[in-house]
């Protein structure tokens, strides 16, 4: 028995002392379903789709706010807060909320990887151009934003990125575009180039066109810089035809990431209508039956297409006009609202209009009218290219339109930017920014329908979107600095280039 005890104790003691208690633990703690790094091409495809965005921010920041503020879209539903200048924090902050953890995080990771790999070629150039694209939308919508330190939570362990002044962001973005273009070379991104399918020449034109867009943004605040960058961009070679349009083609599935975020909104939401301001502008315009259809019966007969007045609830609409929302035109569900439609980032038409403006300003030699007409033609004819169900608009129809509404030099800026506004339908962040810069079209608050009680802008049209409240607790010092520099975190505060 003694033997039994001793041997048992010995066995147990042996177990206690001889065990390697963490044997195999390092191998066990490796996730068998994940990789420690990826081919950068896989990341490019992802960041392009993420930039196009999900339903969340496309619904809120793009459609509910931006599109209604510029009076492309209107709705009687009061949760379409941009139509009533009411406050919904979530909606207004949605691009900020989603862009940083998705778009910014991924593009900064790509740049870090390319730097580590010593890449100085096309991939690096494209990454830098795309980074500028992501940030310019954010700063245009919100003003001062985290830029130089953003998206570097892992790379540099920066948990509270500082807010850079928009002035500095613009200076850096323009310089980045110039530098990035120089890196575009013979190599391509292959099939992960969801934007230009490996056509590096188009990337160059896009970078220069973006430089023109950013340059023109500065006309109010720094005309000299605007002129210098705009001429640089135009001389370097901007988009030359609708073949150069920067867009991403979506598919109707299989997953949310593949779909056009705007398309997903239209699937879920039957409330948006074309705004009265927009439809009135499109009178006798061949684009109207492509873009609009009557809600009640889908009719695209221009006679049947009426735009919904802005800023009216169902009750107010009935009271004032004796109509209901379904009597009005909505975005044409047979043509432009599909989940498989492209998301457009910048078009040749926009570039042509900006060149027209540059010509009006005398910054470039050339005929403003020609650029204007080229823009109108491109804006009309791109529709059938982008939307397979859209009827093609012939050269004759374009010419008829241009002769019915001839270019007038004395109203050049107005005409150019009304067309710019029409051409940026469903590119609402850009439409909102360009309206703020140029003041065209001359929008009346609430489309002139009268002040909506409960608006938070003293009845004026919003000039920016607001920052998320969470920044006051997760990034308090920089956030407070930004507000001190820029002004209160309100819809009415103007961003730097809009002063």
């Amino acid at each position: 028995m003694m033997k039994k005890i001793i041997s048992t104790i010995s066995i147990v003691c042996l177990l206690l002392t001889s065990c390697e208690f963490d044997k195999g633990f390092e191998e066990l703690n490796v996730n068998p379903t994940k990789a420690s790094q990826l081919d950068v091409n896989n990341k490019f495809a992802s960041v392009f789709l993420r930039t196009s965005g999900g339903r969340y921010e496309n619904w809120r920041a793009s459609l509910i706010y931006s599109s209604t503020i510029v009076q492309h879209i209107s709705s009687t539903a009061t949760y379409w807060t941009g139509n009533f200048y009411t406050r919904n924090n979530d909606y207004a902050t949605s691009l900020f909320d989603r862009a940083y953890p998705e778009q910014v995080k991924e593009i900064e990771d790509i740049l870090y990887q390319l730097n580590e790999e010593g890449n100085t070629g096309t991939a690096m150039g494209v990454a830098r151009i795309w980074r500028v694209f992501i940030y310019h939308r954010l700063t245009d919508l919100y003003g001062d934003i985290p830029y130089s330190e953003a998206g570097k939570g892992f790379i540099e362990n920066i948990l509270k990125p500082k807010y850079d002044a928009q002035k500095d962001i613009y200076a850096d973005m323009l310089a980045e575009l110039e530098a990035a273009t120089g890196q575009l070379g013979a190599d391509t991104l292959g099939n992960s180039d969801l934007i230009f399918q490996g056509d590096v020449g188009k990337w160059k034109k896009f970078a220069n066109s973006m430089m023109l867009r950013l340059a023109m943004r500065l006309t109010k605040v720094d005309p000299a810089a605007a002129q210098s960058w705009a001429t640089k961009a135009i001389n370097a070679g901007t988009m030359t035809s609708n073949d150069d349009i920067c867009f991403i083609q979506h598919t109707a599935g299989p997953e949310g990431v593949n779909k056009n975020g705007h398309g997903e909104v239209f699937t879920a939401d039957g409330n948006p209508r074309l705004a009265k301001t927009f439809v009135n502008f499109l009178k006798d315009d061949p684009r109207l039956p492509i873009l609009g259809a009557r809600r009640s019966d889908g009719s695209t007969n221009p006679e049947d297409l009426i735009g919904l007045p802005s800023g009216l609830t169902t009750g107010a609409l009935e009271e004032k006009y004796g109509t209901v929302s379904d009597d009005y035109a909505e975005p044409n569900r047979k043509v432009i609202t599909g989940e498989d439609t492209p998301m457009v980032f910048q078009t040749f038409a926009e570039v042509a209009f900006l060149k027209a403006e540059a010509a009006v300003r005398g910054w470039i030699t050339g005929n403003a009218k020609e650029h204007y007409e080229e823009g109108v033609k491109a804006a009309m004819q791109m529709l059938s290219m982008l939307y397979p169900n859209a009827a093609a608009i012939s050269d004759e129809e374009v010419a008829a339109y241009l002769s019915a509404k001839p270019y007038q030099e004395d109203k050049a800026m107005q005409m150019i930017h009304e067309q710019y506004w029409a051409a940026t339908f469903l590119n609402e962040y850009e439409a909102f920014a360009n309206w703020r810069r140029t003041g065209y079209p001359e929008l009346e608050p609430f489309g002139g329908e009268g002040v909506y009680n409960g608006n938070v802008t003293q009845g004026t049209i919003p000039r920016r979107m607001i920052y998320p409240n969470s920044e006051s607790s997760t990034n308090p010092e920089s956030f407070a600095e930004a507000i001190a520099r820029q002004g209160p975190n309100e819809f009415t505060t103007r961003v730097w280039w809009d002063k």
Binding site: E26, N29, A35, D109, K152, G153, N475
Partner: protein, 1033 residues
């Protein structure tokens, strides 16, 4: 074990051996009144000093001559003297000499006399759980154990429960205790819960516990008690012992039946019923905005409603009563048990059927349990097997409005009747089966459609099994090996139906999860070994292994091709998911308890845990932690002479360390994944981490000091048990909130420090005692003060969940209590007056102020007060339970104000004359203005953005349990085949004695995670009444 100890063992072994050859042996078993073995009972040959102690299983073996008497004794039990006759086996059942003297189950299932225990441990007997039953058995413990906070919520009968012992000890990690059933740790993870954007509560692990099987529940509150279970026990341990066949005389049959009815009579919702649907003080409203309560006084006129039908503009009655049903729960159990000298077994089967108060939501649970115990020579084998099958239909959606039936029901204007919403197709559908819309917001569903057409069904099959072999090497030395596993397979089908307003083509998901947790332990121990005179040793040492594996697959589909055919293959867009995780903890541990004169006990424990989740090649920070505990128990009343009034006095104290918090595997480095199915030939890949990983994470350490006493006076008629504890968690692994502009939501750091200090008081009094009549009351009180000592070097707030209004976050703020409700406030001037913007027409609109601490979601104070009366064979008992000191953010109230359903939106003289508001304008000029009737809504809509408006104290006091029972007298049953019969009428949540929250139950959270204090359109908390019958044959 040192050499000295080995010599002692050897000496005892030798003396025993010599004894054995000389004398005849009597063996037997010593058990308590419930048939549970009493280890360490003293068996003494009367008139001599020869004696032995019973072993772990109550068995003893003693050398004695015929005619001599054996005296069986155990602290807290009446001694028995039995003369030895011819029988070589004598089994003895000792009865307690007072019921306050308890034997408790402690770590690793070892039973100890409370005397020896140097920490606070509370044991609750099975009848506390299986008299007034709950679909989640653990809810029945609410208010019964000081220091244990059990929070019910508003997620329905299938929902989860949050249990917190002595305060939250982790800032963002798991805070719930470890559950150990028959020695095996079980998985209690929540399989899904509602959050900001909605969702359903998919239940937790402990809800599968069958109340009819519970023998006892032992709660190890402090670190000293839990130290032996290691890191997973850093939040305390709840040990559940299920019933065995011990004590059964031959074959026994038990039947138990209970039926319970749930209703919403106790729901405090009290909306306005004077003004009908409309906006701007008119009968107009946006589209079909049925929630707009801003109409004119109900006047009986005919008004066109959401469906185009004109109906009288009148109060249509309480929609809640029309929509919710009477819930029913039937629980039937049959148990067979048998015991022989060397074996016992119990086989039980329970069927539970529940239909919830929300339509189309049911649960059927079948539980099969087998406990068997067999001795073979020096070996004792114990097997516990449980098979549980949960079949759940219609888990209700909660929180945000999509698919949440509870949302509209509470907000419809008084002129709206939910019974008008059934639709031409029935149950909330149009003739074509699509949603019959009742709101202009596509994301807000027709309640009938939400309840009947949305689907969320699951089946969970669970197997919990353990096998244990104990080898009694000698009377003093044993070796125990134990293997156990808890495995469940979970299969959930959920979806948004075809024709839903916000997703017209619908979507669905199939999800399968297999979760396996295995434990193995081997330990060598000794029971009550007398080292030298008056000094005893109880000790053990061993090794353990814990392995957890979780694997899931999912198939998801969107856009049904054939309408209403709900299978993933019938969708346009299909995708799949796969999840895998694996982790191990290896351990070595030991415990030694030294006793002096059976009145002073000193216990030391030590344990080292190694974590796979903290292991990474080339890591310099440790992947393991050693922690120790020491505790002392001093039974003063046994050592010194006390005044006669004092029957018992014990002082106790201890210090402990326990590590924990290293739960998530693969969190130490950045990883990348391919997601989706590619796009136009390109693959999609990105960073998988949402938190910034940190390779240098180590386990956190929780240190706790506790002191207490147990005083019993007046012949044990009254007793008081008091504990003070103070614990601090250091190096808590926290996700320090990062600005989302960093690209991440948080960063993992070992930086959290959190402390909890508190007292626990338990008072037991028997004011009246008579043969026919007795009255007992028990009062328990606990008060825990938590403090966030540190979050990170910069003291950044740690941000947890937010409600759907997104104007508040549950936030950990340095220097404050756990889980502050940090949200937008009213902007006030220096004198505290609310600052308003004044509209051109003079309407004041309150300004939204900064985020402030508006309250704390966890109530520090809990009380429970039980009164039990017995008159002859009748007994009556009720439990008053309450909490105080916490706050709740009520989304239901916030939206009821936004939509004008709340009575606060109406002045005493109605809205007819406007609504009077006072405050100051932006220039600081005071005003007192009456807002015109058609602008009142603009004032209240603004308050929705101000979280402060919807903060309430969450204090309550309620009749939690009630029962009246009748025990059929044995004379009545004599001669029949029935041995025992009892009947009881039971009630749960009968009514509030106090509720400081308007319109909702204070226990209306929508999940059980660390963000407590958020309420958003959950189910009403039901009131239950029912009947129990128990029969023994």
């Amino acid at each position: 074990m040192n050499l000295q100890n080995k010599k002692i063992i050897f000496f005892f072994f030798l003396s025993l051996f010599i004894y054995v050859v000389q004398a005849q042996i009597v063996t037997g078993n010593v058990t308590d009144e419930n048939g549970i073995p009493l280890p360490g009972a003293t068996v003494l040959v009367q008139g001599t000093n020869q004696g032995v102690s019973s072993d772990f299983d109550g068995n003893y073996s003693i050398e004695v001559s015929q005619g001599q008497s054996l005296e069986f004794s155990f602290v807290g039990y009446s001694s028995q003297i039995i003369q030895v006759g011819a029988a070589s086996q004598i089994n003895v059942q000792l009865l307690p000499d007072n019921k306050l003297e308890e034997v408790v189950v402690t770590a690793l299932g070892i039973k100890r006399n409370t005397k020896a225990v140097g920490y606070s441990v509370t044991q609750v007997e099975g009848d506390e759980i299986n008299t007034v039953k709950s679909t989640n058995a653990i809810n029945a413990l609410q208010g019964k154990i000081a220091g244990v906070q059990i929070s019910g919520n508003a997620t329905g009968a299938k929902g989860s429960t949050r249990v917190i012992i002595r305060g939250n000890s982790s800032l963002s990690g798991n805070n719930q205790p470890l559950y150990v059933v028959d020695g095996i740790t079980i998985n209690n993870s929540n399989l899904g819960s509602a959050g900001l954007w909605g969702g359903a509560d998919a239940g937790d692990g402990i809800s599968a516990l069958n109340p009819d099987e519970v023998q006892s529940v032992s709660v190890l509150k402090g670190g000293a008690a839990a130290a032996l279970y290691g890191s997973r026990a850093s939040n305390g341990v709840i040990l559940i012992t299920t019933k065995s066949g011990i004590g059964s005389e031959g074959l026994g049959v038990e039947l138990s039946s209970s039926i319970q009815f749930d209703d919403i009579k106790n729901d405090p919702y009290d909306p306005q019923t004077r003004y009908g649907q409309g906006r701007d003080y008119s009968t107009n409203s946006d589209n079909i905005d049925t929630y707009a309560n801003w109409g004119i006084p109900l006047n009986g006129s005919s008004v066109e409603q959401w469906d185009g039908v004109a109906r009288p503009y009148t109060y249509k009655g309480n929609n809640l009563n029309k929509f919710y049903e009477t819930g029913r729960t039937f629980i039937n159990t049959i148990a067979l048990s048998n015991a022989t000298d060397r074996s016992n077994m119990r086989l039980s089967f329970t069927n539970l059927q529940n239909s919830d108060i929300i339509p189309n939501s049911t649960l059927e649970r079948n539980t099969l349990g087998l406990n068997a115990n067999q001795e073979f020579g020096d070996f004792t084998a114990t097997v516990n097997l449980k098979y549980i099958n949960d079949d759940s239909v219609g888990a209700p959606r909660l929180s945000d409005s999509p698919g949440n039936a509870n949302f509209g029901i509470r907000l419809f204007a008084p002129s709206i009747d939910v019974n008008d919403m059934l639709g031409a197709g029935g149950l909330g559908t149009n003739e074509d089966g699509t949603e019959f819309r009742t709101s202009d917001n596509t994301f807000s569903q027709n309640p009938w459609f939400a309840a009947y057409q949305f689907f969320d069904n699951s089946v969970k099959e669970r197997f919990i099994g353990s096998a244990q072999i104990r080898w009694d090497i000698t009377d003093y030395l044993y070796l125990t090996g134990r293997l156990g596993t808890d495995r469940f397979d979970y299969d959930r089908t959920s979806g948004t139906p075809y024709g839903t307003a916000y997703q017209p083509l619908g979507s669905m998901s199939e999800y399968k999860l297999t979760n396996i947790q295995s434990d193995g332990d081997l330990f060598l121990g000794t029971d009550n070994l007398t080292l030298i005179e008056n000094i005893s040793l109880t000790a053990f040492a061993g090794v353990g292994k814990n392995y957890q594996n979780s694997e899931s697959v999912s198939a998801n589909g969107g856009n049904f091709i054939v309408p209403f055919l709900y299978t993933v293959k019938n969708t346009e867009n299909q995708s799949s998911g796969y999840g895998f995780s694996e982790r191990k903890i290896n351990s070595a541990y030991g415990s030694a308890e030294l006793g002096y004169k059976n009145a002073l006990f000193l216990t030391f424990t030590a344990r080292n845990d190694w974590f796979s989740t903290l292991s990474l090649p080339n890591k310099t920070a440790p992947n393991n932690d050693l922690y120790t505990s020491a505790s002392l128990s001093l039974v003063l009343s046994d050592l010194i002479i006390m005044p006669e009034a004092i029957s018992f006095l014990k002082l106790r104290g201890g210090y402990s360390q326990v590590a924990g918090g290293a739960n998530d595997p693969y969190a130490l480095n950045l990883s990348y994944g391919i997601y989706g199915q590619g796009h136009q030939g390109a693959s999609l890949g990105n960073i998988s981490n949402g938190s910034i990983p940190n390779p240098n994470i180590t386990p956190f350490e929780k240190n706790e000091t506790e002191v207490g006493f147990d005083l019993r006076v007046l012949n044990n008629r009254a007793s008081i048990d008091f504990t003070y504890y103070s614990n601090e968690t250091n190096g808590d692994i926290v996700g320090v909130s990062a600005s989302r502009t960093s690209g991440y939501s948080s960063a993992l750091e070992n930086l959290g420090v959190i402390s909890n200090k508190g007292i626990e008081l338990l008072l037991n009094v028997r004011p009246l005692e008579h043969n026919d009549f007795s009255w007992d009351f028990t009062f328990n009180y606990s008060n825990n003060t938590s403090k966030i000592v540190s979050t990170n070097d910069a003291g950044t707030n740690i941000t947890l969940d937010e409600p759907r209004s997104r104007n508040l976050n549950v936030t950990h703020i340095v220097g404050e209590q756990y889980g502050a409700l940090y949200g937008t406030s009213y902007n006030r001037d220096a004198q505290g007056r609310i600052i308003h913007d004044i509209d051109p027409d003079g309407t004041p609109i309150p300004q939204v102020g900064d985020r402030k601490i508006l309250g704390f979601g966890v109530s520090p104070i809990s009380i429970g007060f039980t009164n039990s009366f017995r008159y002859k064979n009748y007994n009556l008992s009720f439990l008053i339970e309450g909490k105080s000191g916490g706050q709740i953010y009520s989304g239901t109230n916030a939206l009821a104000k936004y939509f004008g359903a709340h009575k606060a939106t109406i002045d005493a003289d109605g809205r007819e004359n406007g609504f009077t508001v006072s405050g100051v304008d932006a220039n600081g000029t005071p005003f007192n203005t009456t807002i015109a009737p058609d602008r009142i809504e603009d004032y209240w809509r603004q308050t929705y953005g101000i979280a402060e408006e919807a903060i309430y104290d969450s204090n309550y006091l309620r009749i939690r349990q009630f029962s009246i029972g009748y025990q059929f007298p044995s004379e009545l049953l004599y001669g029949s085949f029935i041995q025992n019969a009892s009947l009881s009428l039971i009630g749960r949540n009968l009514f509030f004695l106090h509720n400081s929250v308007e319109n909702v139950d204070p226990e209306s959270g929508y999940n059980v995670n660390n963000s407590q204090g958020l309420e958003w359109f959950g189910l009403p908390v039901p009131r239950s009444v029912g009947l129990n019958v128990n029969l023994k044959f």
